[in-house]
C-alpha cells in the first residue's frame, strides 16, 4: 500500500484521516464521520448547493468545473430518478490521489455521495472504481456494507425517513472511461464510447436520468465543507479557487508523494520545498502541472500559483493534480513519445482525428526518437497535433494533442538534435535500445 508523506505547509482536509484507520466505520465515526451527512439531512437542496457554491469547490477530476453549479443543473422538477456517479476511474498519468482517499477514507466518499444526493434529490449513488484498484473495491464494499448495517444507508437513513442507496461498480481497464459520458456507458455495461453532448449528464445521464458526476476527491471534500463551513474551505485557497487539493508529486523529485496543499500554492515551492528538490541537484527541464494531458511548462514557467486560473495564465491547466517533474537529463522527444504511446493505447477509436492522429503520431515519434527522423517530421508532428485540437468527439483528443504541441514548440531544438539517424543525444543508452525499431 502506498506510502504516506507529509509537509508542514500541508493543510489536511481530505487527507485528514489518512493513516488513521478510518476505513473502519467506528474509527471513522470517532473522527467526526457521518456528521456532515446528518447536518445536511434537514437542509434544503438549495441550501446544500449554496454551501458548495460558497466553498468555491471546483472539480478535482480535471476540468475544474464549479461543483455547486454542476449540482444546480439537475432539473428539480424532473419526475425521473436521479443519480450520483462518483468517478473513481483515476487513470490520468501522474495522478494517484483518489486511490489514497478510497484506501484510507472510503466512508468520506460515501458521505460525499450522500450529500450530493441530498442536494439534487437523488436516491442512489454509484462509486465507480477502476478495475486495477481491486483492493479498493474490496475496501469500499465493506464500507458500504457497514454503513447499511448502521442504518446510514438504505430505506431510512439516520432515521430520517429518507432513502439512499450507494453501490460500488468496477471497471476493467480503460482510461477513456474516466470521461464522464463514457463512464456512464461503461457502468451501463457497454463499450466506453463517449456520448453526444448536449444533452449533458445533469439532464440525461445514467439510464436516461439526470446524473451528477464528480471525482472522488471532489465528493470527499463535500462533507468537510458542510461540517466545517463553506467559507472556511474557501479561505484556504484563492478567490474562485476554493480550498485545498491533493497534489501528486512524481518524477524527478526527492520526496515524491501526495500532498494536500492550498490552491494557489507556488509550483516552484512545491517542487523545491515540499518535494525536496531534484535528485542529484540537477536542473529542471520541464514540469507537467496537472497530469499528462496538460501542456508542459519549461523551467522558466514554473514560478506560478497552482490554482486553476494561475496555471491557465501560464498556458497550461491545473488538471487532475498530477505534477510530474522532468530534469535536465531527460530527452523530451522520448517523453513526448511515451505520452503518445499512452493516448494511442487509450483512444477509444470512435472519432477519426483521435484514432488516426494518435496512431500516426505514435508511429512517427517512435521512429523519430529511434533515429529515423527527417526534418519534415517535426512540422508534421505539430501539424497533426494541431489538427486534432478542438476537433475530436471528446477531450481525449485534445489531451493527446496539447502536451505534444507544447513539447514540439517549446523543445523544438531537441527534435532537431535527433535528425538524420543521430542517436538520441540526451539518452544514448535508451536510443540504442530503441534502434531495432527501425529494422521492422
Amino acid at each position: 500500500m502506498a506510502d504516506l508523506v507529509s509537509h508542514p505547509d500541508e493543510i489536511k482536509v481530505v487527507s485528514k484521516r489518512f493513516g488513521q484507520g478510518a476505513a473502519d466505520i467506528d474509527r471513522y465515526l470517532a473522527l467526526d464521520g457521518y456528521k456532515a451527512a446528518q447536518k445536511a439531512l434537514p437542509m434544503t437542496p438549495d441550501a446544500i448547493i449554496n454551501e458548495v457554491k460558497t466553498s468555491g469547490l471546483r472539480g478535482r477530476g480535471g476540468a475544474g468545473f464549479p461543483t455547486g453549479m454542476k449540482w444546480s443543473f439537475v432539473p428539480k422538477d424532473s419526475p425521473k430518478q436521479k443519480y450520483i456517479l462518483c468517478n473513481g476511474d483515476e487513470s490520468e498519468p501522474g495522478t494517484c490521489k483518489d486511490r489514497l482517499i478510497l484506501e484510507h477514507d472510503p466512508h468520506s466518499v460515501i458521505e460525499g455521495v450522500m450529500i450530493a444526493g441530498l442536494a439534487v434529490n437523488a436516491e442512489s449513488g454509484y462509486i465507480y472504481i477502476r478495475g486495477e484498484y481491486r483492493y479498493l473495491s474490496i475496501i469500499m464494499q465493506k464500507a458500504i456494507k457497514d454503513a447499511y448495517a448502521r442504518g446510514f444507508l438504505g430505506k431510512n437513513i439516520f432515521g430520517s425517513g429518507k432513502k439512499f442507496d450507494v453501490y460500488w461498480h468496477g471497471g476493467a481497464g480503460a482510461y477513456e472511461v474516466g470521461e464522464e459520458s463514457a463512464l456512464m456507458e461503461s457502468l451501463e455495461g457497454k463499450r466506453g464510447i463517449p456520448r453526444i453532448k448536449p444533452p449533458f449528464p445533469a439532464v440525461v445521464g445514467l439510464w436516461g436520468s439526470p446524473t451528477v458526476i464528480n471525482n472522488v476527491e471532489t465528493l470527499a471534500s463535500a462533507p468537510h465543507i458542510i461540517l466545517d463551513g463553506a467559507q472556511k474551505f474557501a479561505d484556504y485557497g484563492t478567490p474562485k479557487n476554493g480550498g485545498v487539493r491533493l497534489f501528486c508529486l512524481s518524477g524527478h523529485v526527492n520526496k515524491p508523494g501526495v500532498y494536500e496543499l492550498p490552491l494557489g500554492y507556488s509550483l516552484k515551492k512545491m517542487i523545491y520545498e515540499v518535494g525536496g528538490g531534484i535528485p542529484g541537484g540537477k536542473k529542471i527541464k520541464a514540469v507537467v502541472p496537472g497530469g499528462s494531458s496538460t501542456p508542459v511548462l519549461t523551467a522558466d514557467e514554473i514560478d506560478i500559483a497552482m490554482d486553476f486560473d494561475g496555471v491557465a495564465k501560464a498556458g497550461s491547466m491545473l488538471g487532475s493534480g498530477g505534477v510530474v517533474v522532468i530534469d535536465e537529463s531527460t530527452c523530451m522527444v522520448r517523453f513526448a513519445q511515451y505520452i503518445m504511446k499512452f493516448y494511442q493505447h487509450e483512444s477509444c477509436g470512435w472519432c477519426i482525428p483521435c484514432r488516426e492522429g494518435t496512431d500516426w503520431l505514435k508511429k512517427t515519434l517512435d521512429r523519430f526518437h529511434a533515429g529515423g527522423g527527417v526534418k519534415k517530421d517535426i512540422n508534421n508532428i505539430q501539424y497533426l497535433a494541431e489538427n486534432m485540437m478542438g476537433r475530436t468527439f471528446c477531450p481525449l483528443g485534445d489531451a493527446a494533442a496539447m502536451p505534444t504541441i507544447s513539447i514540439v514548440t517549446k523543445f523544438r531544438k531537441e527534435f532537431e538534435d535527433h535528425l538524420e539517424g543521430r542517436p538520441c543525444p540526451y539518452d544514448p543508452v535508451g536510443s540504442v535500445r530503441l534502434l531495432p525499431v527501425l529494422s521492422h
Partner: protein, 158 residues
C-alpha cells in the same frame, strides 16, 4: 458452465444494484475471468445468456477493456507500468529486465503457464514509481533487485 458459489452470490447481488441487467456486465466479466483465467467461449456464452445479450455484444465489450482477455495467460500476470512518471524513474530498464528475466515479450506467457508479462499504462502509483501490479497486488518504488525478490516470492507460491 458453473462458477463458484462466491461468484454466483456476487452476481445475484449485483443484479439488484441497477435498473438494467446489462449494467453488471463489465464487473461480471472481470470476476469470471478471475475464476477461469480468461474469458473462454463457454464463459462468454454463459454470461451472454444470463444477461440476454448476443455473444457479439459481449465480445464487443470484452475487446474494449484492456484488462479483459479471451486468451489464457499466466497464473501471475506481471504488469509493469511504463507511463511517464514511472519512465522518469527507470521503468524502461525495469521492463527490459523483466523481459530478459522471463525470456518473454509483451503479453507472452511462460511455457509452464505460471507467469505472463505485460507492459501497462499508468496504474495510479506515480508518486511511488516505478511500479507494477502482479495480478491485483501493487508493488512500488521498484528497483531491479526489489523486482527480483518480489518475483521470487511468487515463484515460490507458483
Amino acid at each position: 458452465m458453473t462458477f463458484s458459489p462466491e461468484f454466483e452470490q456476487r452476481f445475484t447481488e449485483m443484479l439488484t444494484h441497477y435498473p438494467s441487467k446489462r449494467s453488471v456486465l463489465v464487473p461480471t466479466l472481470l470476476y469470471a475471468q478471475d475464476e477461469v483465467g480468461y474469458l473462454s467461449d463457454e464463459a462468454i456464452t454463459e454470461i451472454a445468456q444470463r444477461l440476454q445479450l448476443t455473444e457479439l455484444d459481449v465480445r464487443n465489450v470484452i475487446s474494449y477493456y484492456s484488462m479483459l482477455t479471451t486468451k489464457p495467460r499466466g497464473k501471475y500476470n506481471v504488469q509493469v507500468c511504463t507511463n511517464i512518471a514511472c519512465i522518469l524513474r527507470g521503468a524502461d530498464d525495469l521492463w527490459e529486465h523483466c523481459q530478459k528475466k522471463f525470456g518473454l515479450r509483451h503479453k507472452q506467457t511462460t511455457p509452464d503457464g505460471q507467469f505472463s508479462i505485460e507492459e501497462v499504462e499508468c496504474i495510479g502509483a506515480c508518486s511511488w514509481a516505478p511500479a507494477m501490479q502482479v495480478n491485483y497486488d501493487f508493488h512500488e518504488n521498484l528497483t531491479k533487485d526489489k523486482f527480483d525478490t518480489i518475483l521470487d516470492g511468487y515463484k515460490k507460491k507458483a
